[in-house]
């Protein structure tokens, strides 16, 4: 690890000014950043400690039913907050299933969205891959068991954020604060496809930080579910995750649908084709099957990760059935 200094900004404006300087990193929970420092994948001269700023660790209800979540809210805080549990259970569950209790006590919502990928080629300090300015993605010809099955190329990482699929499904937006002021974007637009720029995972500009996460009130009658498949019971990244938010009318027809997958693509992967199949149709197991098929229809596995396709399909199907209140049946 290289030497670095930790600096405490006085306010948000000075924090973003400090971060706009070259070779600075924002320090929040420090979970992923410390890993990056120890593996010498990042060697900033200064860490700008956002925890020095007050007020970024709260969840507030603002008029209109919007929840405003501070970027320093921890995953455990998010998972346990009554307002989140009641209005957005899928979001609460996505936080609750991440990592371990110890990590969830430290890791922040902002850090979860801005963390770097887990790819073992990217994490290896001896490998200069596409994401580090090199010329190739080593996963393509290498051991790609945990890599992308959708939207891959030229990099085949999967985005590691547990929260992002649920936030996208909730139609949440982010307030980004930088030296040029604040801008607001949909969470879905925050993430950058490697086709645009393989070296980054999001649109944050130098000096910019996530200042708030805003989650609008759910549509009337909407119900949500988050499911993830892991290799272990705990302390593991998902092999595939799925969020479904559905609203059904009295006839049992779907009037609102959001289907988003995690851990399958370099960005959180929304499945509009699945949503289209659901909308206007009466929800039953056959419909859920068709929607799940559609969600994975474009999957293009690499040599070692085709197994993820049926797993992702199962997660989508189950999330739809659970959100729609239809009993699943063992296959």
């Amino acid at each position: 690890m290289k030497q670095f200094a930790v600096v405490a900004p006085a306010d948000l404006a000075s924090a973003t000014r400090m971060l706009a300087e070259p070779n600075r990193s924002a320090l929040a929970g420090g979970v992923d950043l410390l890993d990056m420092l120890k593996q010498e994948l990042a060697a900033p001269a200064e860490l700008v400690n956002l925890k020095a700023l007050g007020g970024l660790d709260r969840i507030e209800s603002v008029p209109g039913g919007v929840l405003r979540i501070g970027p320093l809210v921890t995953l455990n805080q998010l998972a346990a907050a009554p307002a989140v549990r009641e209005r957005h259970p899928a979001l609460a569950d996505s936080a609750a299933q991440a990592a371990t209790p110890q990590v969830r006590n430290l890791a922040t919502v902002g850090g979860n969205l801005a963390q770097r990928p887990r790819c073992w080629y990217f994490r290896n300090p001896d490998i200069v891959c596409l994401k580090k300015g090199g010329t190739k993605c080593y996963a393509v010809a290498g051991l790609n068991r945990y890599h992308a099955i959708l939207g891959g190329g030229p990099s085949f990482i999967v985005h590691p954020s547990n929260l992002a699929p649920a936030l996208i499904a909730c139609d949440a937006s982010l307030a980004l604060n930088g030296p040029d002021g604040e801008r607001k974007i949909a969470v879905g637009d925050f993430f950058t496809s490697p086709k645009v720029d393989p070296r980054r995972e999001n649109v944050l500009k130098p000096g910019e930080i996530i200042a708030a996460i805003e989650v609008p009130a759910p549509p009337t009658g909407a119900r949500s579910a988050y499911l993830e498949a892991r290799e272990k019971q705990s302390f593991d990244w998902p092999l595939a995750a799925a969020v479904a938010i559905l609203a059904l009318n009295r006839a049992g027809e779907v009037v609102h649908a959001r289907i988003v997958m995690g851990a399958v693509a370099p960005i959180p992967w929304r499945a509009p084709s699945a949503e289209k199949i659901l909308l206007g149709a009466k929800l039953d197991r056959a419909l859920a099957d068709r929607a799940a098929e559609a969600a994975l229809a474009g999957a293009a596995p690499l040599a070692h990760n085709a197994y993820k396709i049926p797993i992702a399909r199962a997660m989508v199907r189950r999330a739809i059935l659970r959100a729609g209140g239809v009993a699943d049946e063992p296959a």
């Binding site: 290498g142 068991r145 498949a229 290799e231 272990k232 019971q233 092999l239 063992p330 296959a331």
Partner: protein, 765 residues
């Protein structure tokens, strides 16, 4: 607490608080990486990024010129050693191979193989210096599997390696072929009504000790050296380091630190000679500690393996023949535990006809080290699942099948001589009678599996000293490090013999200058052998105490009785009042001076260990994920000294075996580079992944041991992978033959079975 135990013991069988407990939970206990000395330098190791390469040159000038860098060593700084098996301390070992694993000589043989070591004023400078060392490699094709290594014309790892079968002229990757034979398997299979034959593959796995390897070396100008390190055997570190460095054994002192897990992986050396060599070059103490990635890339693992197992039974369930073929990855140098695999694979059963062939094969992976019952879990995965299948064919309950065929006193072992009194069938009965096995398992995709395991255990040498202090308290000094409650168990044995309170006994683990030779903590031998030495040393104290009382009372020693910590005249009555140890302790000066009890043992008559386990699982047929619902282990402990630590060993070994079965796996890519070099990608179970493991201690005393102890440290890891495979079969109907049975692998098997079922249904239409 000192609630008295059953069957005649006062301390043994109770559960006092361990003597090292407070230090460990308050962070005061000193582990290897905690040592610091004035002027200490920090060392780092440069490792090969290639799995197989000739080393053409190593240029260190630029690195040496970096300010703060004090010394750099390569294999050129180590003496050349004979390329043959030689005695080092108490074991026979190929010292050339050992030395070449410390620092590569001419060839890099695995991803992570040490090339050079640097000492600098800070670990960061040492790290920086590693990048400035220029190594020119000539890449060679990596040989990663036993199949590839055994092929005719395979790329050769060690040009000087020969085996007896192929003769002195043939280059080979097969270091040894062992064969064990009894009866006539061809005839045996003729008697069988059912024969099952399967091929198994198990992945290379790591012991997963949480504390990485470490060493501080201090070389003195007088030619003596001291090593502080975390190890399972300070005398092994001394002997092996001396051999590699070319220093006389007696000139090295090893001070064992507290140990944060070993499981067999800390029975050899990696950093220890480097710390001394760098200290010798710089005149400073030098400390080296590994990162997790270094631990996974270059220490430990146990062999991945390919095993073929064929067993035959008559209709009524009698096993009549077994034929097994085992090939184990040794890593870069010979020495896989395939011999143990071969000798354990069918050992729990009385089978008249057996033929077992075993191959020790070098591959471009780290040199394997011992791991808890080394080699036996791989083997049991094969034989215990084939046995489950046979039981099913015969329509016999799998536990009954084990009872019908189980080894007992007089059954010949795979190596020939018959077992003495063993407790195998008792472990099967204990599972049969457990609340778990008696409970009914219901629900879709759920299944129950059982399996058994055998481990030899060893005895070997131990020394112990027991001192009676002037206040009547007792100190016990041993050379075995504390893994899993060693201090507590040894103190309890002394307290039992001396009749004193457990809190009046203070156990100490001494360095190699302060206690007699004590072999490595391995083979589940410590409680058995060191415990025996402590028992005898305490008896030595009793003998001396009687002499002193006799002196005070002007009697003969045999006219004094010692019972429950009290000395009294053999003939009751008269003026003489019984004396406690405390009372006589203050009068030792007047009767001839201090009392020191001593004993050494080369313990024979070791009691083999058996365990039987039961596991309930639920499988998600859409994802291939297995959840363990309930797990129980029954194990023969001979005599449980501290039952909590016996249960801890049973649960710990079972947890490791379950991880081995479900998730753990070294991922090498096709270039031979290890890809999962951290514990996030090398998936070990944590307490969140497993249910509380239920235990049943079985006590069938080892004949000949004064307390009947049997080692308990290892056998618990043997049955779990097979029990899991059996449970998975009973849950979803697929017979798994590869470890780990992780979601990708299990899902593939489930989908294959489903497709076959659909094809069959279609054909029937």
């Amino acid at each position: 607490m000192a609630a008295s135990s059953s069957n005649g013991f006062r301390v043994i069988g109770t559960r006092p608080i361990r003597h090292d407990g407070v230090d460990k939970v308050t962070g005061r206990a000193k582990y290897g990486a905690d040592y610091a000395f004035p002027g200490m330098l920090h060392g780092k190791v440069l490792r090969s990024p290639h799995p197989h390469a000739n080393i053409k040159s190593i240029k260190i000038d630029k690195a040496l010129a970096l300010p703060g860098v004090k010394a750099i060593v390569t294999s050129a700084d180590l003496p050349a050693l004979p390329d043959k098996m030689e005695a080092a301390g108490e074991q026979a070992i190929n010292l050339n191979h050992l030395s070449m694993n410390i620092l590569a000589r001419g060839k890099a043989l695995y991803d992570g193989h040490p090339i050079a070591a640097v000492a600098a004023t800070s670990p960061h400078i040492a790290d920086e210096a590693l990048r400035l060392i220029e190594v020119e490699y000539e890449l060679l094709p990596p040989v990663m599997t036993v199949e590839d290594a055994m092929k005719p014309g395979a790329t050769i790892l060690l040009p000087s390696l020969r085996n007896k079968e192929d003769g002195p002229d043939k280059e080979t990757n097969v270091a040894a072929h062992l064969q064990f034979k009894r009866g006539d398997v061809a005839e045996g299979f003729k008697q069988a009504d059912y024969v099952i034959e399967r091929e198994f593959k198990t992945a290379m796995v790591h012991q997963g000790y949480i504390e990485p390897h470490n060493a501080v070396g201090i070389y003195n100008a007088d030619g003596h050296a001291t090593i502080y390190c975390s190890t399972q055997g300070s005398f092994v570190v001394r002997a092996l380091s001396a051999a590699v460095l070319g220093i006389a054994e007696g000139k090295i002192k090893v001070v064992p630190a507290e140990i944060g897990g070993g499981f067999g992986g800390k029975t050899t050396i990696y950093l220890e000679p480097l710390s001394v060599l760098l200290s010798q070059k710089t005149g400073h103490p030098v400390k080296l500690t590994m990162t997790r990635a270094e631990v996974l890339r270059a220490t430990g693992p146990t062999s991945g393996s390919t095993i073929r197992c064929k067993m035959g039974a008559t209709k009524d369930g009698k096993l009549v023949a077994a034929q097994c073929w085992l090939a184990y990855e040794a890593g870069a140098f010979p020495g896989s535990p395939v011999g143990a695999g071969a000798m354990t694979i069918v050992a729990p059963y009385n089978i008249p006809n057996i033929l077992v062939d075993a191959y020790d094969v070098v591959v471009n992976r780290p040199k394997t080290a011992a791991y808890r019952a080394p080699g036996a879990s791989n083997a049991a995965m094969a034989s215990e699942t084939v046995l489950d299948e046979l039981a099913e064919k015969c329509g016999i309950d799998p536990l009954e099948m084990r009872l019908m065929n189980g080894s007992e006193e007089g059954t010949p072992q795979t190596v020939g001589p018959p077992f003495k009194r063993i407790g195998f069938k008792e472990t099967v009965e204990a599972i049969k009678n457990s609340p778990h096995y008696k409970s009914k398992l219901t629900g879709a995709n759920r299944g129950r599996g059982v399996a058994s395991g055998f481990w030899f255990n060893v005895g070997l040498q131990s020394s112990a000293t027991v001192n009676i202090h002037t206040d009547g308290t007792v100190s016990v000094v041993i050379g075995s490090v504390d893994i899993g409650g060693t201090r507590a168990a040894q103190a309890m044995i002394a307290a039992e013999v001396l009749g004193v309170d457990i809190n009046d006994v203070r156990p100490t683990i001494a360095d190699t200058d302060s206690i007699g030779h004590t072999d490595v903590t391995g083979g589940s031998r410590t409680c058995f052998a060191t415990g025996w030495a402590v028992y005898e040393a305490a008896q030595d104290c009793v003998r001396q105490l009687k002499e002193r009382a006799a002196k005070l009372w002007e009697k003969k020693p045999d006219e004094v009785v010692f019972e429950n910590g009290m000395l009294s005249p053999a003939q009751p009555g008269g003026e003489l009042k019984p004396m406690s140890i405390k009372q006589i302790a203050s009068r030792l000066a007047r009767t001839g001076g201090p009392i020191v009890g001593r004993a050494t043992v080369n313990a024979r008559g070791v009691g083999p260990a058996f365990a039987t386990v039961c596991v309930d699982v639920e499988v998600d047929p859409d994802t291939g994920k297995t959840q363990i619902l309930r797990a129980t282990i029954a194990q023969d402990a001979g005599k449980a000294i501290h039952p909590s630590y016996v249960e801890g060993q049973m649960q710990g070994g079972m947890a490791q075996g379950l991880g081995w079965g479900l998730n753990e796996e070294y991922f090498y890519d096709d270039r031979g580079i290890l890809r999962n070099t951290g514990l996030l990608d090398y998936r070990m179970p944590t307490c969140l992944d497993l249910p509380a493991i239920e235990t049943a201690i079985v006590e069938v005393p080892t004949p000949g041991h004064p307390l009947g102890i049997r080692g308990v440290g290892e056998v618990s890891i043997v049955p779990p992978p097979a029990a899991l495979a059996n449970a998975i079969y009973h849950a979803v109907g697929v017979r798994m033959t590869e470890l780990p049975m992780s979601p990708p692998r299990l899902l593939k098997a489930i989908l294959k079975k489903r497709a076959a079922g659909e094809a069959q249904a279609a054909a029937a239409d």
